[in-house]
Chain length 232, copies 2
Amino acid sequence: MTIILHELALRGDARPSPFCWHARFSLAHKNLPYTAVPTGFTGIPGIAGGGHKTVPVMEHAGKTIGDSWAIAEFLEATYPDRPSLFGGAAGKAYAVFMRSWGLTALRLPMLKVILMDIYNTVPAEEQTYFRTSREQRFGAKLEEFVANRDESAAAVRANLEPLRATLAEQPYLSGETALYPDYVVAGYLLWWRAVSPRRLLESDDPVTAWFQRVMALYPRIAADSTRAWDGP
Amino acid sequence: MTIILHELALRGDARPSPFCWHARFSLAHKNLPYTAVPTGFTGIPGIAGGGHKTVPVMEHAGKTIGDSWAIAEFLEATYPDRPSLFGGAAGKAYAVFMRSWGLTALRLPMLKVILMDIYNTVPAEEQTYFRTSREQRFGAKLEEFVANRDESAAAVRANLEPLRATLAEQPYLSGETALYPDYVVAGYLLWWRAVSPRRLLESDDPVTAWFQRVMALYPRIAADSTRAWDGP
């Protein structure tokens, strides 16, 4: 059986989607081999017989599963003898919280920095789709949405403060080993780095050292993630 | 053996300290009986032979332990057969993260709302100490520190957003049962409520329902926490 992971690819084969990275980390954590199949925005409706509006979409032994969290839960349930993604019930609750925290404390302020960078990475033939759908979703022109991007970048850096304090106590957000909460945050950093030439973190930031530890665990993810510069 | 917990008490026997509530929750979670001994700010140096600058301070079988986190770790190690405070290594990592998150996302913006309310709850003979030490610490007059309190209250409410999303998935922040991460947040809500007449949350806020669930687990904490109004 070959596991297929459909993931978003943009210009220059950039792989931006944080949610696709979350699915990659789940597969890598479980030591499962997989084939990553790139798709553009407009290719998503045609994936695996149709019915999906977003990626990642995973094909696993005849079953198709969309949504990174559903994929994580499926893999945890299907492969209980492989390393746990959550580390028990309280650890799974941590993953639930970190997903929610990441959406509000990271994803939104990050978008307010990199949305035009994403647009500039979208292939020419998909830019109209991207602009129209995002401007409708955010109720603003893309250029207006990122108007205060320096402030938004400062907000992202400030919002990372609890991570710095956590990493002063332990090497990973999840303790002595990396688990799903680490992957949530790492996925957002990979997203930023895939599209933006703007450096988010200083090299002496404790979050940088942690990110490099996570990357060292998963050489394939490190190799497949594109970037204009090193580090998060 | 009687466990003694020294905790801060202000005017009208208000018990404000979030860290003392964290220690109370740890004891309650472990089903350990304890005697809570109130102290004012100026009484702290005289507790248990001296040497402590903050409360809580716990006296346990001839041993004295300060700091709420040290107390939690001590109780978890000393009473492994009683209900776990953390729920394993990943759950403990969650507690570490939530402590860090609480300090930046809750404690600081809350202080910018309630610092004058705390001052007004401090007994007259300790107000000069409180004002001088806090104005030195924060580099501002107390009145200046809370000048934008409406904005700060809105920031606290906004910062609670990841909790709302988490509680849409599960009854407690820690999953099906309450664990240390729940107590971290509940302690800050008890702090606010002990001193401030300002209502933080609407009654239909999912965080309110969760807070009431936590209070229902620990009737003694609910009874001993003072407030000007019901709910968080």
